[in-house]
Symmetry: C2
Subunit: 395 residues, 2 copies
Amino acid sequence: MTTPPVRGFSTEEFENRLANIQMAMAGDGIGVLLLTTEHDIYYFTGFLSQFWQSPTRPWFVVIPSEGKPIAVIPEIGVQSMKSEFMTDIRSWSSPHETDDGVSLLNQALTECLKASGSNVLGLNKGRETHIRMPLGDFETVMWNLKSSDPNIAIKDATSIIRDIRMIKSEAEINKVRYVASTVSGVFENLFDFADIGMTDAELFKNFKLECLKAGVDNVSYLVGGAGQQGYDDVIAPPAGRKLRSGDILMFDTGCTFDGYYCDFDRNYGFGAINDTAKRIHNAVWQATEAGLAMAKPGNSCAQVFRAMDEVLKKNGALGESVGRYGHGLGIQLTEPPSFTAWEQDILREGMIMTLEPGMIYAPGRMILHEENLVIRKNGPELLSRRAPAELPVKL
Amino acid sequence: MTTPPVRGFSTEEFENRLANIQMAMAGDGIGVLLLTTEHDIYYFTGFLSQFWQSPTRPWFVVIPSEGKPIAVIPEIGVQSMKSEFMTDIRSWSSPHETDDGVSLLNQALTECLKASGSNVLGLNKGRETHIRMPLGDFETVMWNLKSSDPNIAIKDATSIIRDIRMIKSEAEINKVRYVASTVSGVFENLFDFADIGMTDAELFKNFKLECLKAGVDNVSYLVGGAGQQGYDDVIAPPAGRKLRSGDILMFDTGCTFDGYYCDFDRNYGFGAINDTAKRIHNAVWQATEAGLAMAKPGNSCAQVFRAMDEVLKKNGALGESVGRYGHGLGIQLTEPPSFTAWEQDILREGMIMTLEPGMIYAPGRMILHEENLVIRKNGPELLSRRAPAELPVKL
C-alpha cells in the first residue's frame, strides 16, 4: 500500500491560486468574481465537504480585486471554512424564510466593486459550468446590483478560471498520482474478485470494497459495461445481469483522495473471447500509444485527438458515442479541455489529462480504454499504471 | 441481511408521475416544463447514472402538456435513457464545438408550446433548486424562444414539482426502508469496528466498508464529528484526529439504494463520558420523541419544529447551527420541506422525513440526533431503527 500524501494544501498554495486569479481578473477588467459551485470554492478556499450533496443551502465565495476571498455561507459551514487563509466569513442561519444569503451576497459584491473601482462582475457562463443557486435568487442579486448602479456589467469568467485550474501544482499532482496508483493496484488484481456467474451488482460491490481497502477516500464514480465480445453502454449502473463466458467486462472509475479524482478504466475477458475482440482491444491500446506520443507541451488537443482517431479509423471503427477521446482531470471527474477534433487548447506543463479512445467495432459492441497522465516538459508522465497491450482473459 | 427490493419502477409508476405533473401544469397554465437536474430527470424518466458527476454535458427533459416526456440528451446517454416509458429521445454528439444541445432543446420546447396552445414555459426558480446548464446557453435558449414569440412567459414551477415529489409511492418507500434498515444494522454494530486510538480516516473507512458489505449501493454521504463530551463540526471530512477517551463520536450518513437515500446519524461515547453529556444525549433523544408524536398528517412543519425546540430549550440549548430540525428525504439527501419555525407546509401521508434535533450545550459542544420516517395515516412509521435513549458507551 502506497503512503497517502498529506491532506490539504499549504497557505502559500492558496495564496498562489488567489494571486493568479486576481492577475487574470485585472487583465479582464473584472472588479469582483462570484463563485457558487463546490469545485471552484474548494479550489480557491480549501473548503471540502460532502455537504454539497444537500441542495438546500447556497454557498458563495466572492473574490475581490485585492485581498483575500470572502465566504458568504450558511452558519453550518463556518467551522469547516475557517483556516489561516480564510478569515473573512459572513454567515446566516440557513435555510432562511425570506433571505437565503441574498442580502449578504449583495453587500459583499457591492463592497468589492466599490473598492476595485471597476463595475464589472465576473461569473461562470460558459461550457461545463452552471450557477448553483436558485435562478430566482440569482435574478434578485443581479437586479439589486443594477438598481444601485445601472452601469454594472456582467462578464463571463469561465476562461480565466479554467486556465488557472487547468495547471496543477505538484501537491495536486501527488494526490491524483496516489489515487490513480492505488486504483491501478485494484485493477491488476481484478481476477481475484471477479468471475463468471457473478451479477453486475456483486462485481460493482467487490470493486468498491477493494478500492476502499486499498486506500481511496471514496469510490465517487463507478460505471461498467459487460457484453459478448464488447459492451454497448458505458455509463450504466448495475442492472442484474450475470457475467458469462464470452463477456468483456469494463470498469471505469473515478475514485477520490482528498477531493482529487482519478478517472480511468480497464477491460477483462472471461472465457471464450474471440480474436476480433482481442484485436480491437489491442487497436484501442495502440490508439492510446499514439495519444501518449503526442501528449506534450505545445501540441493542441485537436492534434492529440487526430493521432488517436487515425489509429481507430485504420482499425475499422464504426464510430464512438462518447464525443471525445479524453479530458482534463483534478477536483472534478472531468475538467476542461477535451480531446476533440475541434478543441484548439494547447497542452501545457502541469495539465492532468485522461486519454480515452474508444471505438464501436460492430453494432452494440464497443471497447474503451483510458489512462491518466500529467503533461511534463518532454512528454507525459503516466499517473495510472499502463494497461496491458493484450486483453487479460480469465479462462 | 435484508433482501433488497426490486430495482427500478414499473411503467405505471412513471405514468402516474407524469399524469400528476401534467395535471399540475394544466392548473398553472404551463404549456411545457423544462428539467435540467439529475434528480428531477431521474424522478420523471427513471434515468439513473453516476455520469452526472461529469459537468461536461448538459441533459434536458421536456414535459409536454400531453404525451410522454422528451429527452434531449448527449448520445452517450441514449442507451441508458431508453425504456418502455421513454421513447422520444433526441441526441447529439456532446461535447459540441458550437451547439451543445441548444438548438435541439429550443426545437422541443417550441414544438411542445405550440401543441399545448399555451405560451408559458415552466422551470425551477425557487428554494433548493438550480438550473444545471451553462448560464450563457440558458440565456440563448430564452432569447431564441422570445425571438420567435415575444409573448412567451416564464413561470416558476418549483412548487408543483416539489408537491409531487414530496409524496412517495410504496415502491419509493421500500427503497428508503431497505437502505435505512441496512444502515441501522451497521450502526448497531459500530463498537465492533471503532475504538479509541483509531484515526478518523480509519473510522470513516471502516464505516464505509461495513455499509457496502451490508448491502447499500453507495455511501454517498458520510460526515462525522468527534470531540470531548461533544463535537463542534458536523459536516467535516476526516482530518487526522485520533479517537480518545472522553470523546463522543457521531456519524451522519446518506447511503443509497437504487438512487434512494437514507439520512440519519448515531452517537457513541468512548471511555470517560461525563453525566452532562449523557443527559444532553437523552434530552436530544426526548426532543426526537416529541417530534415523532407530532409527525402526522395535518400538522405543519412549524408545529413539529416547535415541539422539538421546546424540549431542547428546556434542557438548556445555547442554540444550533444547522438551521432546522429535519427535512424531506428521497432521491436527494435533503428534500423539501424543512422543519423550521417558519415552514407552513402541512404534513401529508406518504411524505418521507427526517427528524434532526440538535443542540449546542456548551461552546464548541453539540449533540445531534436524526431518524427517518414516513408519514402514515395515524402517525410516523420509522424507517431507521430508533436510536437508544441512553448514549452507548464503550469503556
